[in-house]
Amino acid sequence: MVDTNTGKINEDILDEKALSAIIEFTVDNDRLREALKTLKEVSTRINTVFSVGLISRVGGDGTLPTVAIAREAGFSPRPNTKTNVGLGRPLTEEV
C-alpha cells in the first residue's frame, strides 16, 4: 500500500485479479458506527461484493453493545455467529 491514510494501492498491482482478499482492522466502539456507515456508502460504488464480520469482546454482563450499533448503522446481524467460548489460556488480558 502506497498510502495507508488514503488506502492507495501500488500502481503495479492494480490490474491483478484476486480470488479473495481480507481487510482486518480494529476500531473503538465510539467510531464503529462511522466505520460501518462508510462501508455502507462504499458498497454502492463497487462492482464486486464483500462480506462484513464484526468481532467483539463480550461484556461483563454477557451482552454485545456492538450489535446495537451495527443495527443503527443499517446492518442486519445474522442469527449465526462464531463464538469463542473462553477455554483458551492465557486470556488476552493476561498476556
Binding site: L39, I46, N47, G62, T66, P79, T81, V85
Partner: protein, 198 residues
C-alpha cells in the same frame, strides 16, 4: 434459519506466540475427545490432514495437527463434547459457529462464559453478481470457497434427472471442502428442498 439448528462447527486451535509451542500432544488428546462423538458428527478434519472423506479419527489422533474441526448436527452431542473439553482443560481456544442464542445457552448450561463473538453483517456491494440464495446457503458452508456454485447447479440437475441421490450429491460437495467444516447432513436436506430427488 431452520437448517442452521443442525449445523454447529467446532474449531479448536492453539495461538502462535501464545500457547502454540508444545501443543502437539494436547491436540492429539483433543482429537481423542472428539473421536468419542464420531458417530454423531456430520464431518471433521483439517486442511493438513483432510476432511472425513479423506482421513480417519485414528489418523488424526496420531497426527501433528494445529487445527481441529468437528461438525455437529445436534445440540446435545455438541454440549456433551464441549463439557468434556472444559473438564479436560487443555487451555486451547474453542470456537463454535452456529446460532448465537443456542450457543450462548449451551455455554451457560456447561458453565462457560463466551469471550469473543464474531457476527456476520451480511454481504454487500453488487450482490446481483452472486449466485442464487439457495446455492449460497450450500456453498458458504465452506469458508474457503472450495465448493463451486456451478457444481451445485450441475448436481441439482443430476438429482432432478434421477442420476444421483441427494445424499450422494451432498457427499460429493462435502468432498471439496478440505478443512472438513462442510455439513453434508444439512446439505442433503437443502438439496431435497431444491430438487425433486430423494
Amino acid at each position: 434459519m431452520e437448517s442452521l439448528s443442525e449445523d454447529y462447527v467446532m474449531l479448536i486451535m492453539p495461538a502462535r506466540g501464545i500457547n502454540f509451542d508444545g501443543s502437539e500432544e494436547k491436540m492429539r488428546q483433543v482429537w481423542e475427545v472428539i473421536s468419542r462423538y464420531e458417530g454423531e458428527l456430520a464431518n471433521f478434519g483439517n486442511a493438513s490432514n483432510g476432511n472425513s472423506h479423506r482421513t480417519t479419527m485414528e489418523v488424526l489422533k496420531k497426527a501433528t495437527s494445529w487445527i481441529a474441526h468437528a461438525v455437529f448436527k445436534d445440540r446435545e452431542t455438541l454440549k456433551a463434547c464441549l463439557r468434556e473439553l472444559k473438564e479436560r482443560d487443555f487451555g486451547i481456544s474453542v470456537v463454535i459457529s452456529g446460532l448465537y442464542e443456542d450457543v450462548g445457552e449451551l455455554c451457560a448450561e456447561v458453565g462457560l462464559s463466551p469471550h469473543t463473538v464474531e457476527h456476520s453483517l451480511g454481504i454487500h456491494g453488487n450482490t446481483e453478481r452472486l449466485p442464487d440464495e439457495n446455492i449460497l446457503e450450500i456453498t458458504t458452508m465452506c469458508g474457503h470457497a472450495m465448493v463451486s456454485p456451478n457444481l451445485v447447479t450441475h448436481l441439482v440437475a443430476e438429482i432432478d434427472e434421477g442420476k444421483i441421490s441427494c445424499k450422494e450429491a451432498a457427499k460429493e460437495l462435502s468432498r471439496m471442502c478440505d478443512c472438513g467444516i462442510f455439513n453434508p447432513y444439512r446439505t442433503e436436506k437443502l438439496l431435497r428442498k431444491m430438487t425433486t430427488g430423494a
